[in-house]
């Protein structure tokens, strides 16, 4: 890849804002994203952390995050979010925002023109792309583009579960509209899961056919024109009780690369995304879910030779980027936790004043 900015003396100064700083046991991707960006020799970055909760660990990682600001939760609406971002922009002159939460993406996509007018770049899918891969639409999406997707039913009332179970058979995966999935083996469990997820995320609930196999995740960076700039498949080596990867390893397998290319060609996806794939024993690859942003393990892409977050930065700023060709198979990550020591004053400051 050739870029004009490799000379260290002219390292580009950039201010980049990142969300998803909740590097906890079920981590958001923010800290991994900014770590990858920081390691790119092409820029000299100031990182602004955007947080929702005062306990997001990234806020306190002062060697990674230069300054953190609280932003309002998505239910407060785009008007409030824009109002807050304007204030932050006045202080920081942000060049680029990289949102990392599913639940906030709608708002950021909606605001991308306003942000662009303020001089803040983003590199996000459009609303059509974003909605088409939503859990409630995925099966339809798969049918249209000839992808294997586990069959599902949208459940609006608890009595519909029985019909879904008759048609799809147990075990079933009962999924919330935004997050959470529970595997159930009986009617009782299914109903319990339904009520639990309904209380948390509202209706509808998704009942999905259970697919047994090996879980592969693929981190992809699309250019918005149908080209995949980077594709890194990873196999989870061990999974936490929350279903998150504890450890994983990059693998080299052309069928996954092909699947990722097909996905990008079909969607013209713009930005980072993750395909959660289940490979059955007879070799079929089902797309279980499409996450519309970088995964939490995204730093592994940098370690394997295709720094997706840093490349996204370049693309967002309008640089022409050639697709990566090689990566290292067999790079592993093992996730660990670390107790940071924090002064209560810092917590009070971010919590009470919304800045740190």
């Amino acid at each position: 890849m050739k870029t004009e900015t490799t000379n260290t003396s002219t390292r580009r100064k950039l201010v980049i804002a990142v969300t998803g700083l909740n590097a906890i046991d079920s981590p958001g991707p923010g800290v991994a994203v900014l770590r990858a960006i920081r390691e790119c020799p092409d820029f000299d970055v100031r990182i602004i952390g955007l947080s929702y909760e005062p306990l997001e660990p990234g806020i306190y990682m002062h060697d990674l995050v230069d300054k953190a600001y609280q932003i309002p939760y998505p239910p407060a609406g785009t008007e409030n979010l824009l109002h807050r971002l304007k204030y932050i922009h006045e202080q920081e002159k942000i060049d680029l925002i990289i949102p990392n939460f599913d639940a906030e993406l709608f708002s950021f996509i909606k605001l991308s023109d306003d942000l662009n007018n303020m001089g803040i770049h983003t590199f996000l899918p459009d609303l059509g792309q974003f909605e088409a891969r939503h859990k409630t639409m995925l099966f339809k999406f798969g049918k249209k583009h000839k992808f294997l997707i586990p069959e599902d039913r949208l459940i609006h009332q608890i009595s519909d579960l029985t019909k879904a179970a008759d048609e799809l058979d147990y075990p079933l995966v009962i999924k919330g509209k935004y997050y959470d999935a529970i595997i159930v083996n009986s009617k009782d469990d299914a109903q319990k899961a339904f009520l639990q997820l309904q209380a948390k995320w509202g209706l509808p609930i998704i009942a999905q056919q259970f697919i047994k196999g090996t879980e592969i995740n693929i981190a992809i960076l699309g250019d918005g024109k149908g080209n995949a700039i980077s594709i890194i498949p990873m196999r989870k080596l061990f999974i936490t009780d929350k279903g998150k990867a504890w450890a994983g390893i990059t693998i080299e397998e052309s069928s996954f690369i092909d699947l990722a290319h097909q996905f990008i060609t079909a969607t013209k996806w713009r930005g980072g995304c993750e395909l959660e794939v289940m490979q059955t024993n007879d070799g079929k690859a089902y797309i279980m879910e499409v996450n519309p942003r970088f995964p939490a393990w995204i730093y592994l892409t940098a370690a394997a030779g295709q720094n997706q977050p840093a490349t996204l930065v370049k693309m967002a700023l309008g640089e022409k980027v050639e697709p990566f060709k090689d990566y290292v198979a067999g790079k592993m990550f093992i996730r660990y936790s670390w107790d940071m020591i924090v002064e209560v004053g810092e917590f009070q400051k971010i919590s009470g004043m919304g800045e740190l």
Binding site: V344, G345, F347, Q348, K349, S351, G352, M353
Partner: protein, 81 residues
């Protein structure tokens, strides 16, 4: 009933209760009242001071102070004696 001795207040309006580990924030007038409580001012004295400094009817402030004190009690920031 008085404000617990060991509670730390900061100029920015933050309050820290070392006994429970809880943190609080208050608005400037709230901080001012806390300072006076720490100085063992009586409720009547506080009402006089605030009413002379701020544009407020005494009986309005009396109600608001009662509400503020009930919150301090709820948050376990007062000594019950």
């Amino acid at each position: 009933m008085r404000f617990k001795r060991n509670i730390a207040t900061s100029e920015a309006g933050f309050i820290f209760n070392p006994a429970s580990g809880d943190s609080f924030s208050s608005n400037p007038i709230g901080s001012e009242i806390l300072t006076q409580l720490k100085e063992d001012k009586s409720r009547q004295e506080i009402i006089e001071v605030i009413a002379s400094r701020y544009d407020v009817e005494k009986n309005q402030f009396e109600r608001d102070l009662e509400d503020f004190m009930s919150q301090l009690r709820d948050y376990n920031l007062l000594d019950e004696n």
